[in-house]
């Protein structure tokens, strides 16, 4: 009886979650310009996509923004996690909460507040502003992933490095960072994916020249649905799934008992 209920629940959830995506991917191979009718198989939309200069330009922007965001998030997230773990500050707990709030803050609020901020400090909108905006909500993911890994790390590892003559900075770089590598990679992939997919915050904090791919897609969709968008979405979905699976794999690698050996 309960088994049956669970079965139905699973089917319903999966249909709602994945059927639309499945349909979308299927229609990206449809030769008809309409999304309702199936005519015949084609790769035309993918070819068109590949030769669409504006799309490629925004894709390039997205990659630049995501790469920059990831690099900065990894540095800030990892050092932040280490400092919070290693040193007891008076306000560690409140700081932790403050850092994690952007992960759940409505994007529209983040977008508007960042826009006001950038205007106030007269920072022109462009690559820099959109990257700063992305870092604010991406680095907490790196921080949280690294913190989880640090929990299982033998505190004597750092002491052993110091004992053997490494300065705190060298101990961090030569011993702690290598031990954290799976968590850093996993958090970094997470940051990259989030930055690639982000729409609303980018909408407020970028300029037309530095517009990212999701903005372009959103703009195209407003005019009318085009099977080329299906093809683009399919590419996006597959890339995202691969990145998420890989990041999950790394995370698991990392939560294996991090023994001091």
């Amino acid at each position: 009886m309960l088994d049956g209920a669970l079965g139905i629940w699973t089917v319903v959830v999966f249909v709602f979650l994945y059927l639309p995506i499945g349909v979308l991917v299927a229609y990206s191979f449809n030769s008809s310009k309409l999304n309702i009718l199936w005519e015949s198989f084609t790769l035309d939309w993918y070819v068109q996509l590949w030769s669409n200069a504006p799309i490629l330009r925004t894709l390039k922007n997205s990659l630049i923004v995501a790469t920059g965001t990831t690099a900065v998030s990894v540095v800030i997230g990892t050092t932040g996690a280490w400092l919070l773990h290693r040193y007891r500050y008076k306000f560690s707990r409140s700081l932790q909460t403050l850092i994690c709030i952007p992960m759940m803050m409505p994007e529209i609020v983040m977008g508007i507040s960042l826009l006001i901020f950038f205007t106030a400090v007269s920072l022109p909108l462009g690559y820099v502003s959109v990257m700063i905006a992305h870092v604010t909500f991406c680095f907490p993911f790196v921080l949280v992933a690294v913190q989880a890994r640090l929990q299982g790390l033998d505190p004597a590892l750092e002491e052993a490095a110091l004992d053997l003559g490494a300065t705190p900075l060298k101990a961090f770089w030569l011993v702690i960072v290598p031990c954290l590598r799976p968590a850093i990679l996993s958090g970094g992939l997470m940051a990259f994916t989030l930055s690639m997919d982000e729409l609303i915050i980018s909408y407020f904090t970028t300029s037309p020249a530095s517009a990212t791919l999701p903005l372009k897609v959103f703009g195209m969709a407003k005019v009318g649905l085009n099977p080329m968008l299906n093809a683009l979405s399919a590419v996006f979905i597959v890339t995202t799934i691969i990145l998420v699976l890989f990041s999950e794999y790394l995370r698991r690698l990392g939560t294996r008992p991090a023994q001091a050996a």
Partner: protein, 364 residues
């Protein structure tokens, strides 16, 4: 007792507090060059905190520490010529055995050729030849222990600190490593400071033992000193076994006196350690120093007793005796021969206590 003229480590009136808790309370201790000293005590006695102040992971609130003549009281761990073997070994999991051992030399920027020579040498010394390329996870507990040891001695520190390094090994390997450590220490001529809660380990390896209790240095001396001449009830009880019996002084006759033990037995004891001006103290009687026989015995103190309980333990027989006067004592008798006058529960026996085997300790 060895009183080093030029101590390698000089700990002077060191106190360390964590909040309201005093972990180390006014401890002074001088450790000689090439000495193997053990800091012994139950968990929370302050021995590990003292060790961490020697390695530089903690700093004293009061007092100062000198190592090799230099004041290191507030020196960072990476600036002192002291290395530690950690309880968890703390081998770097991403580095091979070779790279783990090389770490300290690289930090010191030792030339590559000399690095290679010294690592080869230490690998032979700890018998790790053939394991150089392995990662720590591919080693057994005993091998990891050797890597940790090699890594700590290869930079040639003036002092090696060992924080319960044998506690993760099984009993047989532990005994073997105890002897190997002692041999290694003699070979290197290095000062070893070993922390343990295992009294047997302390007795096996140390030149001197420092017994700690509740943050204080309770007694310092050679293994034999500590064992035969415990100064407090805590030391008597913590090292080996002891009957700790309350005693009341009845009659003083120079250096010896007659006391009445709790229960009623009256014996003669040496009074040189009797606390001045006190009518009561504690007599420590090692169970193996209670001579038991079915025949009359010659000793300063002879009395008869009944065997209340007997526990056979192979080489040893443990007896609980109740003297005619009513004092209860534990005794350990070697089982020399199964045929030779076996002693059993309910037997009436003669007991003898030599005055030299009796130690007066202060009542807690």
């Amino acid at each position: 007792m060895i009183a080093p003229a030029q101590p390698m480590i000089d700990i002077r009136s060191v106190t360390k507090r964590f909040g309201d808790f005093t972990a180390v309370n006014d401890v002074s201790l001088a450790i000689g060059p090439a000495e193997f000293i053990t800091l012994l005590g139950p968990s929370g006695c302050g021995k590990t905190t003292l060790l961490r102040m020697l390695s530089g992971f903690e700093h004293p609130d009061q007092g100062d520490i000198r190592i090799d003549g230099a004041d290191v009281t507030h020196l960072a761990p990476y600036r002192r010529n002291v290395n530690q073997v950690f309880q968890s070994y703390a081998l770097f999991p991403h580095l091979s055995v070779w790279d783990n051992i090389a770490f300290g030399l690289r930090m010191q920027k030792v030339p590559a050729e000399e690095q290679r020579r010294r690592i080869e040498e230490v690998i032979d010394l700890v018998a790790l030849r053939g394991f150089e390329k392995r990662k720590p996870t591919q080693l057994s507990g005993g091998q990891r222990q050797r890597v940790a040891l090699a890594r700590a001695i290869v930079p040639r520190p003036s002092v090696l600190l060992l924080d319960e390094p044998l506690s993760a090994l099984d009993a047989k390997l532990r005994h073997q490593m105890q002897l190997e450590l002692k041999r290694l220490q003699k070979h290197l001529g290095m000062t070893f400071v070993f922390v343990t809660h295992d009294q047997e380990e302390a007795l096996t390896m140390s030149d001197r033992i420092a017994v700690f209790n509740q943050g204080r240095l309770e007694q310092l001396g050679t293994a034999a000193d500590i064992y035969h001449r415990p100064r407090t009830a805590f030391v008597a009880d913590f090292i080996g076994e002891a009957n700790l019996v309350d005693a009341e002084l009845l009659q003083r006759n120079g250096n010896v006196g007659r006391v009445r033990l709790k229960g009623g037995l009256e014996i003669i004891v040496p009074l040189d350690q009797w606390p001045e001006g006190h009518a009561k103290a504690v007599v420590s009687i090692r169970p193996e120093k209670v001579h038991v026989s079915k025949q009359p015995i010659k000793a300063e103190n002879v009395f008869s007793a009944r065997v209340e309980e007997e526990v056979f333990q192979g080489a040893l027989d443990r007896l609980t005796l109740v003297t005619d006067a009513g004092t209860r004592l534990h005794a350990i008798v070697a089982n020399e021969s199964a045929l030779l006058e076996a002693i059993h529960e309910g037997d009436q026996v003669w007991c003898g206590l030599h005055m030299d085997d009796l130690v007066i300790v202060a009542a807690d």
